[in-house]
Chain length 141, copies 2
DNA sequence: CCTTGCCCTGACGCCGACGTCAAGGCGTAC
DNA sequence: GTACGCCTTGACGTCGGCGTCAGGGCAAGG
């Protein structure tokens, strides 16, 4: 099949396929007209790439999976190099999730603090006698 | 103080300060020589920006905090616009963390599956007579 | 005098994964 | 003939947040 058909069947674009070829990830044979010629195996390789990319893998990280398939293995993750990428990715994800949760906690605490400060000021404004005007906390002279 | 000193005191670079100025985030007065002239308040604004950026806020998202401080409020998050950014960021973080955990679960499952497949093949190779070659996949108990 | 050290502006480089033109070739259909 | 649709290569644009020159100024110190 030609590039347009492969792109459509994989839910991507011709530009992407040419890019993958330039990166050496998905080389294509050529027909008599110089047009790229792909087969079902290429579709399988491409789907492997896209699946991993959907998970946030870099293009380079998909390479071991593609080479594993091309070597004749039934799955892209049938090779040790692919498993190593999985493990590295899991470690990355765990680290990132940990950082994000820490940030989330900090930002959440900041929001809570800021809201308390706001409510305190609002309460003082609503009930001017509630706190002495000279109270230092408000800062409002 | 001049740009070099401010950069050093805030733990950033002069390039960054010029960039913030160009973005209209941290305008600077000029002295007789045309050199940027900052004061302690600018340092406070800058620290607010850097803190938020360390949390992963975009530069534009820090603007409400900076303007809030510049308007005379004691904290950058003393204004409703800042609180809105906090809330938006929390929602973003929650969504992102959720996605990442889903990806983590999927990748973890893929790794486990691939490792089982590998171990199964290794066991078959180690004990060639242990299972009949015609044994159906996955049915080896 | 020259060097050192700070400052200035302007502009290109970088990262990743493509999008989007520009300009042209070839085959088929009208 | 010519319009259409697919293909080709090449090259620039995108996004954010700067890094890194290039080229020049101004003041103090030796």
């Amino acid at each position: 099949m030609r590039i347009g058909e492969l792109a459509e069947r994989a839910g991507t674009t011709t530009r992407t396929l040419r890019y993958y070829e330039k990166r050496g990830l998905l080389p294509a044979r050529r027909d008599a007209h110089g047009h790229r010629d792909y087969d079902e195996r290429d579709l399988k390789l491409l789907r492997q790439i896209r699946t991993l990319r959907d998970f946030g893998f870099d293009l380079e990280e998909t390479r071991p999976f593609v080479e594993c398939l091309r070597a004749g293995h039934p799955e892209g993750d049938s090779c040790p190099a692919s498993l190593a990428v999985y493990r590295r990715k899991l470690a990355e994800l765990d680290a990132l999730i940990g950082e994000l949760r820490a940030v989330r906690a900090t930002v959440g605490a900041q929001l809570a603090r800021a809201e308390r400060a706001r409510d305190r000021l609002a309460a003082e404004a609503a009930v001017p006698g509630g706190l002495a005007p000279g109270c230092e906390l408000g800062g409002n002279q």
